[in-house]
């Protein structure tokens, strides 16, 4: 067993994969915490769809330029498309509600359909396509890894360095505006960081499962925490554990790394959800009703009699009748 682990860690392919998985495990839940807090849990999904078009455009440009590995520009293409797409989504979100919903749907489906179409035109195969949709950690090259590390560092810098400000805009945007904070710039920062996370995670879990790594660890953390800072910390730990453990499993089992990681994360959620009542009940035992004891507004009928129908809850409602 120890020998096998040592073998795994000396495998350069696995080394690169583990570093990438570690980075994804740390960054995705940090960004995910902001997305969940602003009720944009599915934003990562949408960016992932748009990023596929970027990948395909990268292929197309690469093929046109006659680059030797045809997918040389796939990741840069994904970065550009994801950033553009996320800023577009943020602008739509800022503008309004109803029409924005449809605009987002168009962007998402257009992104994935356009990507599939363009990759075919650029000469990509079905398996190329699958590797972007569901991840292909075994194809991570040294250059990929360098780019991943740089992007990961940017995500951490913004996500942790601006934590208080990003918390403020995510928690109550109206108050943030009324505090004179640069709300639009901060919102765009969240969107761009989410886009970078999508491209970082693309190799590990694939564009279709990227969102799971941002959201599921946060969902796990939420079950047991009551502060924002703690939620982010626990989510990051869950993210790292499932990413590294999931990838390691696939060293011995011929399973898809992305799917293994996501299923593992959901299993952790299920286990924590089942165990949670035991922990939380003990902690909250001291008080369940936060309201102070104050006299009732209404006269309650004696037990056994029918309550009066006009016993209204408020003392001074509008007398419209």
């Amino acid at each position: 067993m120890i020998d096998e682990l040592a073998y795994m860690l000396t495998d350069p392919l696995m080394q690169r994969g583990l570093v990438a998985a570690l980075l994804v495990g740390v960054t995705a839940p940090i960004v995910g915490t902001y997305l969940v807090q602003r009720r944009l849990a599915l934003l990562g999904d949408g960016i992932g769809h748009v990023a596929l078009t970027g990948v395909a455009l990268g292929w197309l440009v690469g093929a046109g330029m006659g680059l030797v590995p045809q997918d040389e520009l796939a990741i840069p293409g994904a970065v550009v498309a994801a950033v553009v797409g996320s800023v577009a989504i943020e602008i739509v979100r800022e503008r309004g509600k109803t029409s924005g919903d449809v605009a987002l749907a168009l962007l998402f489906y257009g992104g994935i359909a356009g990507g599939v179409l363009l990759i075919g035109i650029a000469g990509g195969t079905q398996s190329n396509l699958m590797s972007y949709l569901f991840g292909s950690i075994s194809t991570v090259t040294g250059a990929d890894l360098v780019l991943t590390v740089i992007l990961g560092a940017i995500i951490l810098l913004v996500g942790l360095g601006l934590r208080s400000a990003l918390f403020s805009v995510s928690q109550d945007e109206e108050f943030a505006i009324a505090s004179g904070l640069p709300v639009r710039a901060l919102n765009i920062a969240v969107a761009v960081v989410a886009a970078l996370t999508v491209t970082v995670a693309m190799r590990v879990v694939g564009l279709l499962l990227v969102s799971a790594l941002m959201i599921v660890p946060v969902a796990v953390a939420q079950l047991v925490t009551r502060s924002f800072a703690r939620t982010m910390l626990v989510a990051t730990m869950v993210g790292v554990v499932v990413c590294v453990a999931g990838l390691s499993i696939t060293y011995w089992r011929p399973w898809s790394p992305g799917a293994t990681i996501v299923v593992l994360a959901i299993c952790v959620y299920a286990v924590v959800a089942v165990l949670r009542p035991l922990v939380v009940a003990r902690r909250r035992g001291r008080q369940s009703d936060p309201h102070p004891d104050i006299p009732d507004d209404v006269e309650l009928a004696a037990p056994g009699t029918v309550p009066a129908q006009d016993g209204r809850g408020t003392g001074g409602g509008p007398c419209s009748a």
């Binding site: 807090q37 403020s168 009324a178 505090s179 102070p292 129908q309 001074g316 009748a321």
Partner: protein
């Protein structure tokens, strides 16, 4: 309508004694359009240093819309707003302004503690990171609203009134000179209302200027120096605090007359802040 627009005849020069200092809020001809409807039709509002101005009016009269446009949350279609002598925008000294929005009962997705929420009040303008000693300042603000012992609790575990007090502490933590509050006592339990009134009394004594949206003057009545009443997006009264409409005396108003709809159980939704 809960308040009558007619000024009390006994306090004749209503505008005279209100000029206390230079204006801290200066709004001229504010028009706001939301969707297809015009909500405000050219509202003028001036609040001077040291005043406590109550903004009154029925539901839909535009009170909340006005204060939200005063702090830049809602865009204006016309008119100008100056806060503390600077046009609304980057030039405003936001540290001196504390805003308390209407409480939204929906919880945000991630749990956050009272301390975390209050600490976000220490960020304003270009200040994007918490200053040193933020923890002490946050606890001090929570102490002012009587919630210091709940600092580590998730806001979801607090009652509606306590959540409202957390929002007030978030505005107080930066020690503002001007506070703008949007229905701070709507749907708030009696102990929280009393605690709120006591806190405001102390701050006003120390020189705080206040613009507060209210449905009824209630516990704040003794503090209010001037009332502005809106009706359908226009100022219809600006002067001494008006008396409540007949039949809506603040205290001892017995709600005794029968309602026809009682047997169906369809009790009309009370739309006042007077819940206790």
């Amino acid at each position: 309508m809960l308040v009558s627009a007619a000024p009390e005849p006994t306090r004749a020069p209503a505008t005279e004694p209100t000029v206390v200092g230079q204006p801290v809020i200066e709004a001229r001809g504010v028009r706001v359009r939301l969707g297809a409807s015009d909500i405000l039709h050219g509202v003028d509002l001036r609040v001077h240093r040291g005043e406590v101005v109550a903004l009154l009016g029925a539901n839909g009269s535009g009170k909340s819309t006005l204060v939200r446009s005063l702090v830049g949350v809602l865009p204006r279609t016309a008119g100008s707003v100056e806060l503390l002598g600077a046009p609304l925008g980057k030039g405003v000294d936001w540290r001196r302004v504390g805003y308390v929005p209407q409480r939204v009962s929906a919880q945000s997705g991630v749990p956050s503690t009272a301390r975390e929420v209050v600490s976000s009040g220490l960020l304003y303008g270009r200040r994007l990171r918490l200053p040193g000693g933020w923890r002490e300042r946050t606890d001090e603000a929570l102490d002012m609203v009587g919630l210091r012992d709940r600092a580590q609790d998730s806001t979801g575990e607090l009652s509606g009134g306590q959540q409202q007090r957390v929002l007030i502490a978030r505005a107080l933590v930066r020690r503002p000179e001007l506070m703008i509050l949007d229905e701070p006592v709507a749907g708030v339990d009696q102990p929280s209302q009393e605690a709120f009134a006591a806190t405001m009394r102390r701050l006003v004594d120390e020189g705080l200027t206040v613009l507060v949206v209210l449905h009824e003057l209630g516990e704040l009545a003794p503090l209010v120096t001037r009332a502005v009443v809106l009706r359908h997006g226009r100022v219809v009264h600006d002067g001494a605090p008006p008396a409540p409409s007949p039949g809506h005396a603040l205290a001892g108003h017995e709600h005794v007359h029968p309602h026809d709809d009682a047997p169906t159980g369809a009790v009309p939704q009370a739309d006042t802040g007077l819940t206790s």
